[in-house]
């Protein structure tokens, strides 16, 4: 509750709305105590007095009645009607919704049928029909507006209740012999209350508008009594000659409804932060770069096709900064396959995505380092240059093809689109090429599959499409981010064999991101192990597997019974990966390391190179 209030108070707009609303409500409550003139006292001699005239702060209307006084009384009436309608609708709707959702079966069916039918009407039409039957008048208008909004509450509340009715605590209550009525009141109601409040805050504004609307049409409050709506309605006749009579109540309705909406949005965001507009941010086309000058080009030897140099990528979440990638350097030669291994959260995927600036931003920021393709710096390049490289020279294969293929496009169209992004060609030619690609990745019956949607394919087939898409423009580098993790074992082996074959046939360079040493052993000449955003060991695959130097590497390998034998979990290592915003000084692995000694926590530990191998450890398992 306090957290809720804090969140609400932090939202300045909501606070402003709440304050305004509170002020209006207070004044409306105090109306009988205020020294106002009689709102219904007519004085034909003083009709249509302008605002700020003698004795009438806001002027008078067509019967010479004091507008300020009428405004105050009208606001009071409008607020009362709106809140009453909202409350009635909320109570009735919630009761119906809870009963329908909790009892289910026939009761549910009947209630929801009725609700659906009512929702099939344009709402004012329904209100008009009710007013037509009952006759114009304040109370009838109120009944109509409340009735029209009942279905909205009933449907929302039912949805939540259905979800709750299956939960254990409800079963427990049932077993303990509680009656249905008590369960609904004691167990269900408190849990659906936030939903009711959210629905209330979003609908009260409308309901005030709707009741005002009916009065405006002359179907609500009847003269001489006036709410804001009927004041507007009466002013319409003299709109052109005396606009102030209309503007005064109109602005008031606007202020009331706006303050309720502002406050309501704030309440909703605070009750349900996930729904809040602030919680959802969309990634920019390319990761934000905020780095000092890129490090100078060190001529590598032999010249690398892709060189990641001292890359730093961090997530900036409010005041917190998480260094996901903390100074990673890695190179990939032409035709080479390199594995980047680590647990989830080690920064391996962020490293991979940083290459083409695909890390979601916000919150991701590339804060330092460089990525060079044939010696050309990529990170600082203009967006159009980067876009021309994406997919043409560096292509990605992502982890879960279910989520990474567009669900609404046929796979043939997605492939053709990838081709035409970089090679100008007609639709027909692109389709022929797409078919070729599907054959290249050994898609069974590609002619039939090309017009399928992703959801019609199996997981393995989808990943074949993912790979075909990566191959579309004959790239130099493929970055494969856990391409087989979401697949089952036999399919995994097929996909790996496919990648291996493509690499041999086309001289592709592959950067392979995985947590699985079995996969690395099968595919990669070289590997690098990441822990907490840094590379802790690097070397030729065979040598590292035979004699791991870093204790972490050794533990990872120990988790693998034998290469290629399927999926394994890394959680077998005791302890958890460290929190990136609270890294221990010195070696990040120290809390989980069986070889840790006091000096391990003393200070930064450099990556020490010896020939082809490198290790970041003071007391390595073997000295390479």
């Amino acid at each position: 509750m306090t957290a809720f209030l804090q969140r609400l108070a932090r939202n300045r707009l909501a606070a402003a709305g709440g304050a305004m609303l509170a002020l209006i409500v207070l004044v409306a409550l105090a109306v009988p105590l205020l020294p106002l003139q009689d709102p219904n006292a007519t004085a034909t001699a003083e009709r249509f007095a302008r605002p700020l005239s003698e004795g009438h702060l806001l002027g008078t209307d067509h019967l010479g009645r004091d507008l300020l006084s009428r405004l105050a009384h009208g606001t009071r009436l409008s607020l009362a009607m709106g809140f009453a309608a909202a409350l009635i609708a909320a109570v009735l709707g919630s009761v119906l919704g809870i009963v329908a959702g909790f009892l289910g079966g026939r009761v549910d069916n009947v209630i929801m049928r009725g609700v659906d039918m009512l929702m099939g009407f344009p709402y004012v039409l329904l209100a008009l029909a009710i007013v037509a039957a009952l006759g114009p008048g304040l109370v009838n208008a109120l009944i109509a507006v409340a009735a029209v909004n009942v279905p909205f509450f009933a449907r929302n509340i039912r949805g939540v209740t259905v979800a709750l009715a299956g939960r254990e605590f409800v079963d427990a209550a049932r077993l303990s012999g509680m009656g249905n009525l008590r369960i609904m009141a004691v167990e269900i109601l408190p849990n659906v209350l936030p939903v009711i409040v959210i629905a209330l805050t979003t609908t009260t504004g409308w309901m005030i508008l709707e009741t005002a609307g009916l009065s405006f049409l002359g179907l609500g409050s009847q003269p001489p009594q006036a709410d804001l709506g009927s004041m507007l309605g009466e002013a319409r006749a003299a709109l052109i000659s005396h606009p102030h009579v209309a503007v005064v109540p109109g602005v008031m309705i606007f202020l009331v409804v706006m303050s309720i909406n502002l406050f309501g949005d704030g309440v909703r965001d605070a009750l349900d932060p996930r729904l809040g507009a602030g919680a959802l941010t969309r990634p920019l086309p390319a990761t934000v770069v905020d780095r000092p000058a890129p490090p100078p080009l060190r001529e590598p030897d032999p010249p690398a096709l892709l060189a990641i140099d001292d890359l730093r990528t961090e997530f900036r979440l409010g005041r917190r900064v998480l260094p996901a990638v903390d100074g990673v350097s890695l190179s990939l030669g032409r035709g080479e396959a390199v594995g980047l291994v680590g647990e989830s959260g080690s920064g391996k995927s962020v490293t991979a995505l940083s290459v083409m600036r695909l890390v979601a931003s916000p919150p991701g920021v590339i804060a330092g380092g460089a990525v060079r393709l044939d010696g050309e710096e990529v990170i600082g390049a203009p967006f159009e240059v980067l876009r021309a490289l994406r997919g043409r020279r560096v292509a990605y294969v992502f982890q879960d093809p279910q989520a990474t293929l567009h669900p609404l496009y046929r796979i043939g169209d997605q492939l053709a689109e990838a081709i035409r992004a970089h090679q100008p060609m007609g639709a027909r030619a692109a389709r022929v090429r797409a078919l070729e690609l599907l054959r290249d990745v050994r898609m069974p019956r590609p002619e039939d599959r090309i017009d399928d949607y992703p959801h019609q394919l199996s997981g393995g087939q989808r990943q074949r499409v993912g790979i075909a898409m990566a191959l579309a423009n004959n790239p130099d580098v493929i970055i494969a981010d856990e391409p087989t993790t979401a697949l089952d074992v036999t399919v995994q082996a097929q996909i790996l064999a496919l990648l291996e074959r493509l690499r041999r046939e086309r001289g592709l360079s592959i950067l392979f991101i995985t947590h699985d040493f079995g996969v690395v052993a099968q595919l990669c000449e070289r590997l690098a192990v990441m822990y907490a955003g840094r590379i802790v060991e690097e070397g030729p695959t065979a040598e590292v597997l035979a004699a791991p130097a870093h204790p972490y590497t050794r533990r990872l390998i120990a988790c693998v019974p034998e290469p290629g034998a399927g999926r394994r979990r890394l959680e077998a290592i005791p302890g958890l990966p460290p929190r990136l915003d609270a890294l221990p000084p010195g070696c990040a692995f120290a809390p989980r390391c069986h070889r840790a000694r006091p000096d391990c926590g003393a200070g930064d530990i450099p990556l020490r190179r010896a020939g082809a191998r490198a290790v970041r450890c003071l007391h390595p398992e073997t000295t390479p």
Binding site: P122, Y123, L128, F254, R282, R387, R390, T404, H406
Partner: protein
């Protein structure tokens, strides 16, 4: 669904307190008239039977007779409805186009100046009563600037052609569209934000597609899946709002007819008008469902 509407309207109408014949005839009620009407309407029979008689008559196009206008309800409603359709249809197109466009811009430029301006405009749009907005527009654009006529559908002298209609249509259509556009913009913004975070958008970018293609081809297409049902609801909003706007702008549509009919207690006219408009709305929503199914191959029809 269509049947449901008739059931509900029938039930609401049977709520009329007291003797319906007297209520329908109002001031015209002489004992002979009341008795005749009771016989005509079959009010002496049980309710279920009455419902089916009424339904059968409607299916044959007989919606009863309006006593205040002294002409068949169906003629009056059909004539008025076409005027409403022009107004509401235009507004609907406006609110869909502007709403979606504003939502997309707002999402793509999240937290930017455009986003802030649009969010602010949307807040005003959904808070201002459409009838008040209409009045302000009359004061400003018709009285002060004299750009558009104050009210009506055609000029009394001369008019009658399409240009004249459009000239009269601009203000009511815009006033009516404002609120709905606000709601559509809000929803489009959050739908776009949700979609833009999806993995397949990253895939589209990794392919090297132009950003325009990513936004409109990939993101908006997916977002439409959640925007379209709301457009269906907004059609209801627009039809509802038309009742107010027609009153403000003296537009000869079905909404104003209903209000007049209620004030004159011409219940046959109200009943017929409500059923007719609600039926049109239901048909429109069926069309929306079809559009939805066409857009999303995952929905099995």
């Amino acid at each position: 669904m269509l049947l449901g509407i008739t059931v509900i309207v029938f039930l609401i109408m049977s709520l009329i307190p007291g003797d319906p014949a007297t209520a329908i005839l109002g001031a015209y009620a002489t004992p002979e008239n009341v008795e005749k009407l009771n016989r005509d309407l079959g009010l002496d029979r049980p309710m279920v039977e009455r419902y089916f008689i009424w339904l059968g008559n409607m299916l044959q196009g007989d919606f009863g007779r309006s006593f205040s206008l002294n002409r068949p309800v169906i003629d009056e409603v059909a004539e008025r409805f076409s005027a409403t359709l022009v107004l509401a249809g235009t507004s609907f197109v406006l609110c869909a186009l502007f709403g979606i466009a504003a939502g997309v811009v707002s999402a793509v430029r999240q937290y930017g100046l455009a986003d802030r301006l649009i969010t602010f405009a949307v807040l005003i749009g959904i808070s201002v009563p459409s009838f008040f907005l209409g009045m302000i527009m009359i004061l400003f654009f018709a009285v002060r600037l004299r750009w558009f006529p104050v009210s009506g559908m055609y000029a009394i002298y001369g008019g009658g052609d399409l240009a004249d209609l459009l000239h009269h249509l601009v203000m009511p259509a815009v006033a009516l569209a404002a609120v709905a556009a606000g709601v559509v913009a809000r929803l489009s913004r959050s739908a776009m934000l949700e979609v833009l975070r999806q993995d397949y958008i990253r895939t589209a970018r990794a392919k090297g597609l132009r950003e325009r293609r990513v936004i409109f081809g990939h993101a908006l297409r997916s977002a439409m899946v959640s925007i379209i049902p709301v457009l269906g609801l907004q059609a209801g909003f627009v039809l509802s709002g038309a009742v107010y706007i027609e009153t403000v702008f003296q537009w000869p549509g079905v909404g104003r007819m209903l209000v007049d009919a209620i004030l004159k207690r011409d219940l046959m006219l109200v009943q017929g008008g409500v059923v007719f408009v609600a039926a049109a709305y239901v048909l429109f929503n069926i069309a929306v469902d079809v559009a939805q199914a066409l857009l999303d191959p995952r929905i099995k029809t």
